[in-house]
């Protein structure tokens, strides 16, 4: 097979010559050469994401002190302590309230905005939503603290512009972030402002994937307006509805920065007034960094982890009956 004048590397490759030790090593290592390229990324992700994920399980079952000294196995102690904390259950209720308002509101508002932007673009000569789509999306990429602070000002009960306008209609406008009843709605208003533009874009992508001929066919059949939306557009949009539901749930369950800033985290008042906005994420933060109770904070994080996995599974199961895949 080998010819006399075959170049050396080729003959080495087919094994015509006795192999030296480096050659053998090279053959052994060759299938893993790609690891050199993968290593930097893999290293970062393993050290800063996978190791912490494992550590979460470990710390939850230990009386853990930062640094490890004096830590001991705790069995289920942390869980027992956690479940006996009224504030833990309260935070779940607060988070549930937040999520149960945010997810449906997000679905309705972002879908309505998507229809509006698309229809308006269709009726005008331009092909896309252009400026208004961009302006509705823009809040999503703005920094949370900077924009939360202007909302704190807008919602200020005394000199905010919101109540200035409301006073023209009602004699006693709400105290917004300073009242227990309206603090969570205030956060919901901010969060919707910050996020619906993003979900609108997801819906726009879903809408764009509906073939025009289907809508045309519906029109020919005399199905128009809301009936066309309900019977043609919406069924074809269920994959987007599923996606938005899952993402909105996961994102609201984990909201932190806007709640912290809006409720006065810099003054040490995050989650207030009277714990009315203490969500799971805030309670984890406070437990670890105000009360220095790392094990309890880790146990709560583990519960959040489990809860998110469960919710995702339930949503997948629920939507498997509803989602219409073409």
């Amino acid at each position: 097979m080998t010819t006399l004048d075959a170049p050396r590397p080729v003959s080495a490759l087919v094994g015509a010559e006795p192999r030296s030790v480096p050659d053998r090593l090279r053959r052994l290592v060759r299938p893993f050469a790609g690891y050199l390229f993968v290593f930097p990324a893999l290293g970062v992700l393993v050290v800063f994401y996978y190791v912490p994920a494992l550590l979460l399980f470990v710390i939850s079952f230990f009386h853990y002190h930062l640094g490890g000294a004096g830590s001991s196995f705790a069995g289920l102690d942390n869980f027992r302590v956690l479940f006996a904390q009224p504030l833990f259950w309260k935070s779940l209720v607060v988070t549930g309230y937040y999520v149960l308002v945010m997810v449906p509101a997000t679905l309705v508002i972002s879908l309505a905005l998507a229809m509006l932007v698309r229809d308006a673009a269709r009726h005008s000569k331009r092909k896309r939503g252009g400026l208004s789509q961009a302006l509705i999306f823009l809040p999503h990429v703005t920094p949370l603290v900077a924009t939360s602070l202007v909302w704190v000002y807008i919602l200020n009960p005394q000199y905010g512009v919101m109540n200035y306008v409301l006073r023209a209609f009602v004699s006693n406008p709400p105290g917004w972030l300073e009242s227990t009843g309206y603090s969570m709605p205030s956060i919901e208003i901010y969060s919707l402002w910050h996020s619906v533009g993003f979900y609108m874009v997801l819906f726009l992508a879903g809408l764009a994937s509906i073939p025009d001929r289907l809508l045309e066919a519906a029109r020919v059949e005399g199905v128009r307006g809301f009936a066309a939306f309900r019977r043609v557009v919406f069924p074809l949009l269920t994959p987007s509805v599923y996606l938005v539901t899952v993402l909105a749930t996961v994102n609201t369950m984990q909201a932190f920065s806007q709640i912290y800033t809006l409720t006065g985290g810099a003054h040490g008042e995050a989650g207030g007034p009277a714990y009315s906005t203490t969500t799971d994420a805030l309670l984890i933060y406070q437990t670890a960094f105000f009360y220095n109770h790392f094990s309890l904070a880790a146990t709560m994080s583990l519960m959040l982890f489990v809860l998110l996995v469960l919710l995702t599974v339930v949503q997948r199961w629920g939507f498997s009956k509803l989602v219409f895949y073409r």
Partner: protein, 276 residues
């Protein structure tokens, strides 16, 4: 065009304009408040037009460390972008073109962090950073974000579509894997490079919760963290807070104005935008 159709068209246009105005209002209000005269933020009726008074910006930049915080954020963001491009392009390339034992498993591990909820990890991440002596350093705001699953995935997808003939031709020319990647494949993946830069810029510039927890030293604070501390300071008025907020916001808006279509596509197309 019938009257009904015209009504439909202009009606929709009007509703859309109102929606866009409502969503822009808070950002507009920042500008109005920051550029108004002293004390105007607490007076009724409120001013509704931006003023021409830029003293608030001079006050905060001269009087405090805002130039420093802007610089901190710029340094953190720029370094993170460079590192993300480097690690993600290498990994994406390896997944497509290099011999890689257990390729499927490596692929899953590299992309799997998308499924990990970030709020649930922050406590053990603090512990890891503690043991690595990263708390209170610039590095803690850079290194953990120096590789992201989404960027690796984007590079992998793009490299997979590049013709294999290019590589064969390059090999004949004697171009090694690494040189081929940086001289040919990486420049050819310009749309992905652009997307990764934009996504990393937004995430890094806006980071707040992470530095809040992982750092204490005010001199390394990025702008969002400094803003949080500033609002509770005694000298802060609404006018000054909004001036500083605008400083934090401006780079984002500027980039958005230039690359609006690309950002909407990049953020919307990824489905991984977990908010901090």
């Amino acid at each position: 065009m019938s009257a009904r159709r015209r009504l439909h068209r202009y009606g929709l246009g009007a509703v859309r304009a109102i929606a866009a105005a409502a969503f822009s209002f808070p950002l507009y209000w920042m500008l109005v408040t920051a550029t108004g005269p002293r004390g105007a933020a607490y007076r009724f009726p409120p001013r509704i037009l931006p003023g021409l008074d830029f003293h608030s910006f001079v006050t905060v930049i001269d009087g405090s460390n805002w130039a420093r915080y802007m610089l901190n954020s710029t340094f953190i963001t720029a370094t993170t972008i460079v590192l993300v491009l480097f690690t993600s392009a290498l990994a994406g390339w390896a997944l497509v073109a290099l011999p890689l034992g257990l390729r499927g498993a490596v692929f899953i591990v590299l992309l799997g962090t998308m499924l990990l909820p970030e709020q649930a990890l922050i406590i053990p991440q603090y512990v890891v950073n503690f043991h690595l002596h990263l708390l209170n350093t610039y590095a803690v705001m850079i290194v953990p974000f120096a590789a992201t699953s989404s960027s690796i995935f984007l590079f992998r997808q793009y490299f997979a579509t590049m013709p294999a003939e290019w590589r064969d031709a390059a090999r004949v020319e004697g171009l090694g894997n690494l040189r081929y990647l940086w001289r040919v494949a990486f420049p050819a993946a310009k749309p992905v490079v652009f997307t990764v830069i934009l996504l990393t810029f937004i995430a890094s510039w806006n980071q707040f919760q992470w530095p809040l927890i992982m750092t204490q030293n005010p001199s390394i604070a990025p702008i969002e963290l400094a803003l949080n501390q500033y609002q509770s300071a005694y000298e802060a008025s609404q006018r000054l807070i909004n001036a500083v907020s605008l400083l934090a916001l401006l780079p984002i808006v500027a980039v958005f104005a230039v690359a609006q279509r690309h950002i909407v596509g990049a953020v919307g197309g990824l489905d991984t935008g977990v908010e901090g």
